[in-house]
């Protein structure tokens, strides 16, 4: 058994190691070392907890069994999961953090003596407040992430589910959570604690159902943030520095990512959270739809254009992930490079279903990360490039965002794809993208539409090169 002071110092060390773990991610070279710091920090925190309780009785064996059980499931998933399923995986993991926060809070509520928080029915006021907040946020994280997971996995429709009175209902529930926490603290009633958990699960569910599929990058980042705040709430209850530091880090990390994603769509955070974006705009634009001529071509034409180019920029999007076309794409690029054609990749911040989604897929296909550029880094290069190859992206290339103030996506930063000498646009049909608006790029003089599955088209182009 080690003293409380010594274990507090070790918890601080593991908190610092977690900071270094995030710091490592500032560049791919240092990132692997950063991950190692994270593992070390976790190892220290767990070991110190065992040593400080000093309880190596029968319970200890069960703890090890459950760690082993959970750990093997986690390791199995980590090795088996395909990279395209990363958004679902992260959403699923968030739900587990949320649920374990809830369980820890329940356990602390039932047996406060084990945590030095007082006795059942007479828990210290401060601890009870922290515990309720931790439990409520954890419950919201859990049910919200489950919905996000179901939507990303395609088990639940990605389209927003809205109903009348949705916002007032949510507001009433949020207010009642605060009221219940207030009464819980004054009465210490366990019934109120269970009610609090149930309605927190409910609000998490209601908050996420109105948000559409393409807004998932914001939702995942937001849930990431919530899981951090839940951990911090529990950290205050347990008076544990490692948990408080980690909770704050994760909470602010998720908040920053949500901000970056919202900026990438030029929408306010509340606009995304209140939901229903895709559904409302569909009807407005369908009525004014007009038939305009488009040029369409086949793999042969595309190969011809690329062969005569000296530089090509590739713009991947969610469609590439769906078609699993990243490996075929890399093979096409290899062939282009053999012909001395300069190739780079342009990634929009909200391409895909989670922050950095495209980068991971390209990395999986062995694309070196120094050929992959962010929007601001590459946007000026489109004017000098010969061919832009848009594969699975749509709204993020729509020039309407710059020209038409009436458009729902006006003001959203877009890739200046239309400035290229020619644009190759791989798409299955002319249907509008997620925002429900026509892409002007389809009808431009220099655009050649390639109507096919992204993977198949890319393979065909490679054959023709």
């Amino acid at each position: 058994m080690i003293s409380a002071n010594l274990s507090a110092i070790f918890y601080l060390v593991s908190g610092v190691l977690f900071i270094l773990a995030l710091r490592g991610l500032s560049s791919p070279e240092t990132s692997r070392q950063g991950n190692f710091f994270g593992i070390l920090g976790m190892f220290i925190a767990v070991t110190v907890t065992f040593l400080s309780t000093g309880n190596f009785s029968a319970g200890f064996i069960y703890v090890l069994i459950f760690i082993f059980l959970g750990g093997s499931i986690g390791a199995f998933i980590a090795y088996k999961i395909p990279m395209t399923a990363m958004p679902e995986l992260v959403a699923g993991f968030h739900s587990l953090v949320g649920l374990s926060a809830v369980f820890v809070a329940i356990s602390a509520f039932l047996n406060p003596e084990a945590f030095n928080l007082g006795t059942p029915g007479n828990i210290k006021l401060g601890s009870l407040i922290e515990m309720s907040i931790g439990a409520a946020v954890g419950a919201v994280t859990f049910s919200g992430s489950v919905i996000a997971f179901l939507k990303l996995q395609g088990i639940m429709s990605g389209s927003p589910i809205t109903f009348k009175g949705q916002h007032p209902l949510n507001a009433i529930i949020l207010i009642s959570i605060i009221v219940i926490i207030y009464f819980l603290c004054s009465t210490q009633s366990s019934n109120l604690f269970w009610i609090l958990l149930v309605i927190s699960f409910l609000i998490g569910f209601l908050l996420i159902i109105p948000i559409g599929g393409a807004d998932m990058p914001v939702v995942i980042s937001m849930l990431n943030s919530y899981s951090g705040w839940a951990a911090a709430g529990i950290g205050f209850t347990l008076e544990n520095t490692a948990l408080i530091i980690t909770g704050a880090l994760v909470g602010s990390s998720g908040a920053i990512l949500s901000y970056i994603m919202c900026k990438g769509m030029n929408r306010s955070f509340f606009n995304v959270i209140l939901g229903g974006f895709g559904a409302t705009d569909d009807t407005a634009t369908n009525s004014i739809k007009e038939q305009r001529p488009v040029k369409s071509g086949n793999a042969d034409d595309a190969a011809f254009l690329m062969k005569n180019a000296s530089s090509v920029i590739i713009v991947p999007g969610y469609g590439m992930a769906v078609a699993q076309a990243q490996h075929a794409l890399r093979e096409m690029v290899d062939t282009l490079k053999k012909n001395d054609i300069k190739v780079s990749y342009a990634i929009h911040p909200v391409a895909g279903r989670m922050p950095g989604h495209m980068n991971v897929l390209l990395a999986e296909a062995n694309v070196p990360y120094d050929e992959v550029f962010e929007l601001e880094e590459i946007n000026n290069d489109f004017a000098n490039a010969d061919v832009a190859f848009v594969i699975g992206a749509n709204d993020v290339t729509n020039p309407v965002a710059k020209t038409d103030p009436q458009s729902p996506i006006y003001g959203m930063p877009v890739l200046d794809v239309e400035k290229c000498k020619s644009v190759l646009f791989v798409k299955r049909s002319l249907s509008p993208g997620y925002a429900g608006i026509d892409n002007d790029l389809f009808y431009k003089e220099n655009t050649l539409m390639l109507f096919a599955d992204a993977k198949k088209m890319t393979e065909d182009i490679t054959k023709n090169l």
Binding site: L22, R23, P368
Partner: protein
Amino acid sequence: MEIDPLIFRLSIFILSIFVGYYVVWSVTPSLHTPLMSVTNAISSVIIVGAIIAGLSGNSDSVFNTSNIFGFLAIALAAVNIFGGFLVTQRMLAMYKKKKKDKQ
């Protein structure tokens, strides 16, 4: 007058938010997905609370309600810790620089 220890914890919390803010802004956008999976893994340090809960029983009552919730929380957090760190490692191993001979 003595300062409530809560204030110290609150200070740590607030300062950590600021540390997090600056550290996360320096993360390169191409690593945002690993960032999410690693934050996932480290937020499972909540396992610390779960272990205390799981060990709280005495030898005759290893499985009372409070312990069972502790054990469940341990299993969930362990899924996340192992899954989160390993999947992050798997992703990071894929980020490679351009090979010179390939050009």
